[in-house]
């Protein structure tokens, strides 16, 4: 009896020891790589932001100059980040990450850049679950389709032509997939409408000094996000 107990205790001890060593190793690796991983993620996001505002020399840190807005009707998701790109002290473009709720196979996450003159700097797809070979032509690396938004605005084409060709609009659909491009075209249009309605608030929001440290830049972002009076759907209606 006592012998059995001893065996059980030894087994438990061995298992516990391995758990401690395993967790320790993982925690050590995590601590060693955390900084590098965060830097990689920032660099990757920054690269995506630069890609949608071609020809602009970004002079601030848009990742720190963020306003969080909430307008599920126009922007899809519960909250949407608005990165502000400054050049020569002025906000020259807003970059939003709206959600397309009605993709063919679940929500699609977009990155949409709107320049201060109301034209689109560019649109990219951040994540999606569309059918490989059909709906996934919305990815820039698979097809040029998503580039057809460059330079478009609510005046060009006129609002009623912000549709895929099948619905009488100016945007291509792909063979075999209409739902995906249709959802994206409409979502981009809604984003433009949102920026047109709320743009003034977004641009006017307290400027963060380009030279300021990221820590202080985070303050207006949180203020704007927490305070629905600044920019939100209820505000407009």
């Amino acid at each position: 009896m006592k012998k059995t107990l001893n065996l059980v205790l030894i087994a438990a001890f061995v298992l516990g020891a391995f758990a401690v060593v395993g967790v320790g190793l993982v925690a050590f690796t995590q601590a060693m790589t955390a900084e590098r991983i965060a830097a990689n993620e920032r660099a990757a996001l920054m690269g995506k932001l630069e890609a949608v505002v071609p020809g602009v020399s970004i002079e601030n840190d848009p990742l720190a100059d963020v306003v969080v807005v909430s307008d599920p009707a126009l922007l899809g998701g519960e909250t949407t980040e608005v990165y502000r790109v400054r050049s020569g002290g002025e906000v020259v473009a807003l970059i939003l990450d709206p959600m397309v709720p009605d993709g063919y196979a679940g929500p699609i996450k977009l990155l949409v850049a709107v320049r201060s003159d109301g034209t689109l700097g560019g649109v990219r797809v951040l994540s999606h679950h569309e059918t490989p070979g059909l709906g996934d032509k919305i990815e820039e690396r698979k097809s040029d389709w998503v580039l057809s938004f460059d330079g478009k605005s609510l005046e060009d084409p006129p609002p009623e032509q912000w549709e895929v060709e099948r619905d009488g609009g100016v945007f291509d659909q792909f063979t075999g997939a209409t739902i995906t491009p249709r959802s994206i075209v409409r979502a981009v249009k809604r984003t433009l409408v949102f920026v047109e309605e709320k743009g003034a608030d977004l641009y006017a929001d307290p400027a963060t000094e380009p030279a300021a440290e990221p820590a202080s830049a985070a303050v207006p972002a949180t203020q704007a996000g927490r305070d629905p009076a600044t920019v939100s759907a209820e505000d407009a209606s």
Partner: protein, 235 residues
Amino acid sequence: MSAPKPYRQLFRDGLWANNQALVALLGLCPLLAVTTTATNGLGMGLATMAVLVLSNATISLIRNLVRPEVRLPVFVLVIASFVTIVELTMKAYFFELYNVLGLFIPLIVTNCLIIGRAEAFASKHRLDQAVVDGLAMGVGFMLVLTFLGGLRELAGQGTLFYQADLMFGEAARALSLSVGPDFQGALIAILPPGAFIFLGLLIALKNLLDKRAKRRQLERAAKTSAPVDPAVAAG
């Protein structure tokens, strides 16, 4: 503890005779999920091989410490720790590769091939044997992954090693092949059912080759023994 096996035999088993993907049918979850392109297959194969060698080595080292009652939970702990470490390391030093494969790396934990080798081989053999076994089984698995990925990619979108440069740097761009921009491809090859169909074809091909090799061996044996008979009769 089992007797050590010659390295040659370990490689023969890992690459062909006991190929974990084609014969043991282990590790199907990552096998079917990531093999949409040859590049993905190769990347996943490399990550799996790294974990397999590390886990085999560790388990062989601790095989006399661990009581049989708790060996499986200990193996799982060891494997899960290594997978997390590989994932974090990839995220820190091969970020592009991680973006392509990221979702599937944690799946390596569920790859029965790894715990299978831990239980069936590494826990009963010396360190060098366990490492070579891990390497051989890992290479065998990687080759199947890459080959299956290549087949599905070629049939589905008419390319081979598409965007290999994303994973292995600019030098790998030369690897990328394309049948031509007009090639429409059979979409089913990239979709999940295609994975099952092509894996089935691969297994059939292996069985066919094995059968043919066996028949040839029998014929040769018959031929060498035939001339002996008259001599025996004469004597």
